[in-house]
């Protein structure tokens, strides 16, 4: 048995420690590793720094569960519905405890991880100039171009301790295929010191090698492979299942109050032990409804010679 393949419980227990910085939700609204987030909550991690572009409700959930000390992100909330109430409660009222926020834009967070992935201390850009994002920001500084003198914003590299990345399929070494939008996933994988890969399915290396252009993450970057079907629910995984819009709507309604959030958390996270029991709670009917209804296969590419 390949020693990279772990259960979610083992992977989180072994690789995620209190106080670490984690990049997750890197494809934006799709491929969000919710099952990993739930396990982090169940294992009671504390003082985490969360790094990501928009995160949909993943970051809001982890903040509400008390796992988070700091957020480095472009946006925290519920994309379809608006505000994330746990994020608001934490920043406005210090509930469940105060958190620090370093505001980025989607471009600057992508650049920060790209800089780390390239092994350089910063990258210059023209975005965010004139905005208040760089004001008192430890990772942004206005500079002059050494060649033309024009104003630029230097965005400091971010090296997360760990990336948690959801993919469609990978082989036992973690060579991973992703399709659909990839957001900042490639840079997040290369920027991080370790990487937990959550995959809908583990396939043979031959399948990965049959289409190397679809490999976004080479296996040598990967510390652990967790095979977790439906691991991204309620976010979508192209070719596997669709986005569960109703779930986000319900989360929005049910987490408006702290009591409501605690109930939600007990039901969907603390009250289930594994992804399997989460899916049982979700119910067969809902799962069938979210499954891909109509295949749309890409044309094969000829790699022969």
């Amino acid at each position: 048995m390949n020693r990279k393949i772990l259960s979610m419980q083992e992977a989180i227990a072994r690789f995620v420690r209190d106080g670490m910085s984690i990049v997750a939700g890197t494809a934006l609204e799709s491929l969000i590793p919710f099952s990993a987030g739930h396990e982090i909550i169940r294992q009671g991690r504390r003082d985490l720094t969360l790094i990501g572009p928009i995160s949909d409700i993943l970051f809001d959930l982890l903040i509400g569960a008390g796992c988070v000390r700091k957020v480095v992100a472009a946006w925290v909330g519920n994309v379809m519905m608006g505000s994330g109430y746990n994020f608001r409660r934490a920043v406005e009222e210090g509930i469940p405890h105060p958190i620090d926020v370093e505001d980025h834009s989607n471009f600057t967070i992508a650049l920060a991880l790209h800089a780390a992935a390239l092994g350089v201390p910063y990258l210059p850009t023209k975005t965010a100039l004139g905005s208040d994002l760089p004001v008192n920001h430890p990772g942004m500084k206005e500079i002059g171009c050494p060649f033309t003198g024009e104003k630029l914003l230097a965005v400091q590299a971010i090296h997360p301790d760990i990336a948690i990345i959801q993919v469609q399929r990978c082989d036992p070494e973690g060579n991973a295929h992703i399709w659909g939008n990839t957001g900042i996933t490639g840079d997040a994988a290369r920027a991080s010191r370790s990487l937990i890969l959550v995959t809908e399915e583990i396939v043979s290396p031959d399948i990965i090698r049959s289409d190397p252009n679809r490999t976004l993450i080479p296996g040598f970057l990967v510390s652990a492979v967790v095979e977790e079907p439906w691991g991204a629910h309620p976010s979508p995984v192209q070719g596997y299942y669709n986005r569960d819009h109703g779930f986000y709507k319900d989360y929005h309604e049910e987490t408006k109050t702290l009591e409501g959030f605690q109930k939600w958390l007990n039901r969907w996270v603390k009250g289930v032990e594994t992804r399997h029991s989460y899916l049982q709670l979700l119910g067969e009917e809902r799962i069938q409804e979210l499954k891909v209804k109509k295949e749309a296969l890409s044309a094969p590419a000829n790699f022969g010679y």
Partner: protein, 311 residues
Amino acid sequence: MGIERGQYVQGPRIIQYAYQHRPTLGIERGAENGKLKPLNLPVAIFHFQAQCMNYTLPELMVAAAAREIRDGEIIFVGTRLPLLAFALAKKTHAPRAIGFFESGIIRDTPAQEVLYTMGDSPNILGAIQCGSTLDLMGMMQRGWVDAGFIGGAEIDKYGNLNTSYIGGKPHSDHPNPDFTRLPGSGGACDIAALARRLLIIMPHEKRRFKNRVDYITSPGYGTGGNWRETVGLPRGGPGAVITTRGILRFDPVTKEMYLASNHPGIPVEEILANTGWDLKVASDLKETPPPTREELNFIRAYDPTGFWTRG
């Protein structure tokens, strides 16, 4: 306070727009500069249909937003109503427009079904490219994007937008109930900084239309004039603000926002009363054209449950 989808427009508001009291509108339309133009047939048909047309305010806003997109342009499509506006423009007057979606998607056809987020599966099927955020942002920085569409929570008279901290960013990390934490920039700051033209959709309320925003998430024209150039922004700036009450544009020299058109049934006084500064009004103020039957048919077929347009 806070920004909710339910608060995006306030209250139930289906506008009954009847033309009965203006039977000669088709003639009036053509009567600019005092010259009567012949009434052409499609216009006549449109007005006949308009006599019995009901529509919601979000439908009007989506139609108005779609008309800001020109054929053949590359559009950086923001989330929420812009998702619909892009699809509508593609189906009507801008079939050759190309859409960039910050998650990494490029499309030259509208998605086959309504989108709740740009990451929804229908937005990936049939795309011409699926790749990275950095590639798309990079192309926008390079100057490829003609127009970008975003929403806003607060705006000021030079089109600066705040979607981060209502009440201003606190000076310490101590919790402070005096301000409201909004979700943040996402890609909005980038689109505002780098697109050739910025289009904004937002509710028109006094507390949102401020003389000066508390925090600039997405830069407009700063303090006016050539401010963008002085801070190092390469191009761009807001072109239009489509609100729940009218359409506002910007003076080409001072860069101050002014009222260009009021929506049908909304008096100018009401708009002025809901703006937090002394809003200037165009000398050639127009009425926002209502959505056409074709536009409404598309919007309703595309958003059959009315999630975005009947909320």
